[in-house]
Symmetry: C2
């Protein structure tokens, strides 16, 4: 079937289980350090997370089972958009004049427009099963807030989203989408939490950050009995849920009669879409001796994997979360205001960090002018308009394809087009008007925030 | 396979031909009156259209061949999003508590977000084949302009879009999408054409209309040798190209093991998405004795099928087009500023008008508050956010489903969800803020503009 443009599996061929890479890390000699209680420095047991997460998700967080069954009710909601298509980028290959074969998995077909509902739906489901009636969360660019609003609507759960104020004001469409699905959206920092009030007292004009919004959402969940918290990336159970992506891609490449891929590319902010695509392939590297290169592409404005330190740190600005070992720029590092708001995070998921530290994956950082160059090249060949976040993966794939052009290698490149850019057109406007600014941090700036890392014995 | 949520055909099962209902109208005793030259009142031969359309499209316009082959290069572009999914709206059926089975064809998966690329791509293709290097068009809400910008990009044709000024200002994202695909977008009325300058001389603050924008685009195409014009609805060849929709639905219903549908519902502005879904089913009514009811849903603010006259009229405000026999409200009728900008047209395609006049289809008109009620009910059950235009079909299907609830009939209802609402969230904002206004025309207002119909012997 090498003439196909895309392959869409039937609903019967959808994965029935999520894949948990924690089960295979020991085979690779990789240790996954546990989260720590910041007060004691001791490993945090499941009970330590119970105030903010339902027990089913906590058990997934610490599970070492290789495959975890996807509940029927989650599968039913997944079917509103899954399985998602895998495309062969024939027209783009031609435009790039590369001998490489480029495939992209398109997760933008979900109602919220990105991969985020893959985890929002099970998170809402497990909360509903345990009697939770309200969820809080944060959102930056708005992809995660949209996804959770949609998922909560599916299970009749109230949803409250703390949206980084600058995005709340600049992205009214994202806010409206959440409201259309019934969510309450509050600009953060707000006066509704201690964390928000403290920030506003210090800086009444604060435009907010993801770290601040997390603090507000976690605080509200911790204080209210009927309310828990949901996070859209970083945590083990989030990456677990995203592995439907990579599992589908493996089946789809077979239908394309494709050899095993040479390179896998994903963008990284907290690591979830990257892990979702990469981990099923990484398993084959670890267990079956495959040698696929796996490349994470992050913004130069938030270069945790490429320039951060692998150390214990807080997940949020107000130091309310447990400590996690991860590649971090320091919890008070505020990334420059690039358009890929979903990648503006100081840390990286523990799972992605661990495999990076072990040398099992590669990472590069890129500037935003270059990512929009790549996005424009892509959309003018393939039609789909990529989100700025996903455009990092587009650029990563393009760099690999151009390397192949130079060497003449006809490699197989697979990347994750994690979301569309329908709500990001002002970013394209800045690009078309030549208004984009690139950001590069001097070493001293990163060292300064790393100096605030918590001390762990 | 009755447990399926959706059916997506494989690329090999895509229709290879467009279906031309003109071939079957004589069997139903329906006459399709020809377009007339407004100067002479005589039927317009193919040469009369040659200044603005390529000959291949003119020949399709007048063809009575039943099936017309889809060129390979068009098929290749179609595969960037086609075949599109057919969903069973299980969750919405449950929310409506109806015994009806509701199916919806989702055309919003195209790069431009609606069914419009189904015809934009072949129109750009045939122009390219005949050496045309520039296309002009008009756009209201922006769906058609986006689609043609995308299609021109695929075939390396320049694209110039006259965008109704009020939309140009209110929908910057649509404008940016077109620019991202390389198009030039001009607010209409503009100073670049005689038609535009005349309107501005009379009213410097004119916010434009679809009829005015058509005049500008047609004028530019008629005056420049390298430039032709493309229309997104109304014409026979446009409806022809859209019949891939209904042909796919017939195959998809088979995979659902569904009996022949009882009711088909589509929204109508110029008639193209409606015709695309309905005509393959109408053929079965005409030729094979099937008895599917076919319902067109139009806005009360532009009620051509329900309150217009079946008569010869101009397609545009400045009286530059040929005369076409159609249901019309009069070429100088300017529909109220409802949010479904794509349905704000004074006329209706000749094909849809002819089958309506012959009693082969039904039509209803609806108010915009009701269509957003239906859209909200739909998106909270099914996830997908419908465009305001498509929401007319959502409401039409809902009314049929509620009728079934009352009667207890377990009918099969199929409707066309012709596009998503990602660029229409300010309309949802007006709805959520209770700011929507309904419009109803007194009989005298419609009579007044009908008094200006051209006299035809």
């Amino acid at each position: 079937m090498t003439g196909l443009t895309k392959v869409i599996l039937s609903e019967q061929d959808m994965p029935t289980h999520w894949y948990n890479i924690a089960a295979d890390l020991p085979t690779a000699g990789v240790e996954l350090p546990p989260p720590l209680n910041p007060a004691t420095g001791e490993p945090l047991g499941p009970d330590g997370l119970a105030p903010i997460f339902p027990m089913a998700l906590i058990m997934q967080e610490v599970s070492t089972e290789r495959y975890i069954e996807i509940p029927d009710q989650v599968q039913e909601i997944y079917k509103l958009w899954r399985p998602t298509p895998l495309y062969r980028a024939r027209r783009w290959e031609e435009a790039l004049d590369t001998p490489a074969r480029i495939y992209y998995k398109y997760e933008g077909v979900s109602p919220a427009g990105s991969h985020k509902p893959n985890t929002a739906v099970p998170q809402a489901y497990y909360n509903m099963k345990e009697g939770v009636t309200r969820l809080t969360t944060e959102t930056g660019a708005g992809q995660w807030g949209s996804a959770l609003s949609f998922a909560c609507q599916m299970f009749d759960i109230e949803c409250k989203v703390y949206m980084v104020k600058v995005s709340y004001e600049q992205k009214p469409y994202r806010k409206l989408l959440m409201q259309t699905w019934g969510a309450t959206v509050v600009p953060s920092p707000s006066t509704q939490t201690n964390a928000g009030r403290a920030i506003l007292a210090a800086d009444p004009d604060s435009t907010g950050s993801l770290g601040i919004a997390i603090s507000e959402a976690v605080e509200e969940a911790a204080l209210r009995d009927d309310t828990k918290y949901a996070l859209g990336s970083v945590l083990n159970h989030v990456l677990l849920h995203q592995t439907v992506i990579g599992q589908e891609v493996i089946k789809q490449l077979e239908i394309f009669e494709e050899e095993w891929p040479d390179v896998i590319v994903g963008c990284t902010g907290g690591g979830s879409n990257f892990g979702g695509l990469a981990f099923p392939f990484l398993r084959e590297n670890i267990v079956n001796g495959k040698q696929t290169r796996i490349v994470a592409v992050e913004p130069a404005a938030a270069p945790s994997l490429t320039r951060g330190r692998y150390a214990y740190d807080f997940g949020d600005t107000a130091q309310m979360t447990p400590l996690m070992k991860m590649h971090t720029l320091g919890h008070d590092f505020v990334p420059a205001p690039i358009h890929a708001g979903g990648l503006r995070y100081h840390g990286m998921s523990s799972l992605v960090s661990a495999v990076k530290a072990a040398g099992l994956i590669e990472a590069v950082n890129v500037q935003q002018k270059a990512i929009f160059d790549a996005a424009l090249s892509f959309t003018r060949a393939e039609g789909i308009l990529p989100a700025p976040e996903a455009s990092h993966a587009v650029l990563g794939a393009m760099q690999e394809a151009l390397r192949c052009k130079e060497s003449g290698a006809s490699e197989t490149i697979v990347f994750n087009l994690s979301g569309h850019g329908h709500f990001d057109l002002t970013a394209y406007e800045s690009y078309l008007d030549n208004q984009l600014v690139d950001y590069e941090y001097p070493e001293a700036a990163i060292e300064a925030s790393l100096a605030h890392l918590p001390q762990v014995a």
